[in-house]
Amino acid sequence: MTTDVSGRPAAGKKGKGAEPVGDPFDRDVLPTPKGASRALLRSLLTPARGRVRLAVVLLLLQQAAVQAGPLLVAYAIDHGVPAVRRHDYGPLVAVGTGYVICALAAGLLQLAFVRLAARIGQGALLDLRGRIFRHAQTLSVDFHERYTSGRIVSRATTDVESIRELLNDGLQELMGVLLSVVYVSAMLLYLDWGLGAAAMVSFCPLYLFVRSYQRRSRLVYGKRSTAIAAVIVKFSETMNGIRPVQAFRRERVNEADFRLLNERHLRANGAVMLEMARYVVSARLAANAALAAIVLWGAYRVASGGLALGVLAASVMYLRRLYDPIDRLGMFLNAYQSAAASLEKIAGLLAQRPSVPEPAGPRPLPERPSGRPGREVVFDGVRFAYRTGGEVLPRFDLTLAAGRTVAVVGSTGAGKSTLAKLLARFYDPTEGRVLLDGVPLRELSGAELRRAVVMVTQEAFLFSGTVADNIAIGRPGATREDIEGAAKAIGAHDFITALPDGYDTDVRKRGGRISAGQRQLVGFARALLADPAVIVLDEATSSLDVPGERAVQRAMRTVLRGRTAVVIAHRLSTVEIADRVLVMADGRVVEDGTPAELTAGDGRFAALHRAWRDSLV
């Protein structure tokens, strides 16, 4: 088999507790507290308060420099020309100098602003990405089982990207446009209040067009993003499942389905472009009509002697500047809208509180008496139910003696995995407490807990990097000897050395075909290296063949000797090494004893065990 680069391993074992219909997770709408997205934005920009103020000042100055041009033109025509005719070059030199200064100032201020804005924006994005990442890490396993990895990835990428686009280009242009509207209106009013007032009146229809476009485009954009999402799901599902697709000759059916989705997207896409065309034509028509009307009136007044020619020329230039960015305004508004939607989704994610919080005042574990590597585990009046109501484990008490290996068997849904997750504190019990050498797990710091308790699960995920890196996750800073030692002890050394670059084989590169069973061995080597007092194995040998499983058991008997171990298994072969076996059904322990006792009895375990022994002969 191959390493699956993008494919997600089974999305956890959920579906046990029936989710209520209309669960916010299914629709990807986590409740966002009111005003949370605004508060988030504010908190991102607060550290850069000074820079933001400076940026506003720079932009104000820059726009002033830009908008001075036509004013200088007016001055040149109305005052420069007559002065030159009188052989007075003073005004002309003044205009020339002014023009050069304004041009240079506009350019330099622009450069300074872009750099400053980038610092602000990138700082905020760095902060935001980090917050999403750290927050996702602190959220509990039960959250991740419901909120799929794809969603967190799109929060940290697509959504951050749309905010980046807004911060990088959109906001700056939008502010530029708004500022220039203010400046230009002021200039026009200053040049001639009549022309200025006329220009301002022309904003009314333009404003209405923008508003109507904003309203209508939200609709068509929404349709388009729904359509493309459907296309994406179908596309990636097909490519991720290409084996069954080809083996079951689904190509044609898929093509028909895909055509339908693709056509829907095509129509939505066309509608978006047509909506834009509608907006552009109406805005342009209004702008050009306003321009014609204002020029007409101005020219009429110049002709009848009521207005200087230079003023008219400057007004025309200003008006064009005023109306030019209208087309683009539509696009900025879209960027703004999608960024607002993204911000809200991110705020919703960040508003989730971890259901397994770190203790405020952590307690240390007691020192272990020398020569006793394991710790005692006590479930004290523990009950566990999903927050949606389904009870998984009814109230029970259970003590696991230090240094003993306990096997837990039972059918799917019996509550074995939940038991393991409570012990590893992936969940907190609904009632009661889990104690490790007398200290409640809730009161242990994360680091202390993880040093003491390590859980190895069925899904042996490999991180990008080398095989050695992946094993070293168990104990960062471990030497190569330690790593190889762990791999040898678990029986993984042979297959690793057979890889193209041995321990330095990149698990994501070619040649790195690592089977499910081999991945599980790497997971074990990791756990071995971590050297915990309590080890929890949740179906951790399911993909191993029998010799692989034996090697793991041997390692547990030697390397992990004396540690407290909880082994959950479908396979009875695993149970042989246990000191004690718990048989679970419907959340309760129904049989409890040594393997020998249970085998000799006439319970479920005995029946299963007989069937298994029979198959070996």
Binding site: R85, G107, V153, N288, L296, A303, L312, S411, R513
Partner: protein, 606 residues
Amino acid sequence: MTVTTTTTETRPPERRSAVRSLLRLWPYVRPVRGRLVGAAFVGVVASCLGLVIPLALKWIVDGPVADRDPSGVWLGGVVLLVLGAAEAVLFWVRRVLVARPLARVEADMRAALFRHLQRLPVAFHDRWSSGQLLSRGTTDLMLMRMFLAFPLTFLLVNATTIVVGFVILLAQQWTLGLVLLAPVAPLVVLCWFFEERYSQAARTAQDQVGDVTTIVEESVLGIRIIKGFGQHRGQERAFGALSERLRATELGKAGLLGTLWALIMVLPELAIGAALLLGVVQVADGELSAGTLVAFLSTALALRWPVESLGFLLAMTNETATAADRFFEVMDVAEAAPGPTSPPGKPGAQDRGLRLDGVEFRYPDAPPDAPPVLRGVDLHIRPGETMALVGTTGSGKTTLTALIPRLHEATAGRITLDGEDVTALSRERLRGLVSVAFEEPTLFSASVGENVLMGAEGAGESDLKRALAVAQADFVDGLPDGHRTQVGEQGLSLSGGQRQRLALARAVVGNPRFLILDDPLSALDVHTEAAVEAALREVLATTTALVVAHRPSTVLLADRVALLSRGRIAAVGTHHELLHGNEEYASLMSGHEESEGRERDGGSPR
């Protein structure tokens, strides 16, 4: 195999002709060529109208205004209005002309990509992550549509506008025209230069975003491991370093962009300033009319955007060429040969059943010195027989099963079904004969029933019931909508064991002649496993089957067992024969050391 591209991150060679890449789009663009040409024509006309507006302005200033003739102004106003309206309408026409056709081009290309990818061999998909393929099917295609809608048209339109504009300027007053023309050449060169560097930085940033995405994805997929080992700090550090690197790249990008914009802003302004001074002197000397100066400055203003845009239009063109390369990189991979490649032989009696002769396989991307995964596999499964396939982890069992429905192609040797060479059958027919349950059960976004029934064309409700019964998938009745419940990515998620049972039901629903089961019971608990085995026995009695097995319990489903070892079939026999006669097999099944195993087997016969 015919696959030539080997890694998912192949960078296109740095020096490649953008034009040549873009010309490859022609077959897709051909159907809409008329519309595109029409749109470009309309664009040129609209843009030229924009240039005429200043001339009308000049006419107003030098005519009625200079003559102090207020009534004459009206005509000018009407002309301006008509020109403005025409410009706006032409903008609209241009967009409307191409909106739907270009959406169609995008959709057609996407459909072609989807169709092609579905027919590429599994070996291709092993090497390409679906994310890489998806980005070709979405972002890259959108980029190409946008290119056809804007840069392609506007490169033509703006170039024409610039030429026409400067002809107008030079015709009016060549000295002033030359002053304005001066910054054009350096501007285009500078824009080109900066856009080149900028798009390099943008590519770097894109790759770095990819790295950040990977670490986010991994840290979520591996959340149990990270939490289990308390490793979140290490992940955070790695993440922090990557995002800090991305920030630095983004700041560099902003610096480049800022410099570029500053240049774009300053250079033409300086030229306009110079033209203004020169113009004022000329007007004062009476060489130039005031109207001409006004028109001049307006025209210069109108030409700023076409000149400024050339840089980023060229950059977008470059980017689109890269997107086109990425698209064709996948489209150029040859589909697996569809038709018969060897003449069908007359099947003899000894050929009935499933037969493998000297089958060899090596992965197309394996290093040349690596030994093949399978080297000379000979195996004969008699009609109606069930054969278990046993071997150590990584011995190539799954690979072997993939060769039979030709998900992978054997590199040498022959596989026959009832005497017919699998390469002589069309894939369609072959895969109708052979049904597979995969080790990793995949469900699609559809109802439970649809997921199962995709195993057989024309199977009905009763077949569905029977298949679900065989797989002991009675949990289906407990789902909210029974077998109509939606599952998969967009529906209810099922546990591994539940998915595995549905995959099994899918494999048996069509009563296939040949059945391949890859460790079909691994995720089931002991009780369910026993029940499935009992039901499966009946199905297996009537089909020729190959069952990959890790456990004795699964092996017991089979009539005979084949042991795969070092790329060959090392032994074939019944479970009991091999258990007693083959040390490797005994160790695989019982897990005891070989000597220990013999003692035990000898000591406790049951």
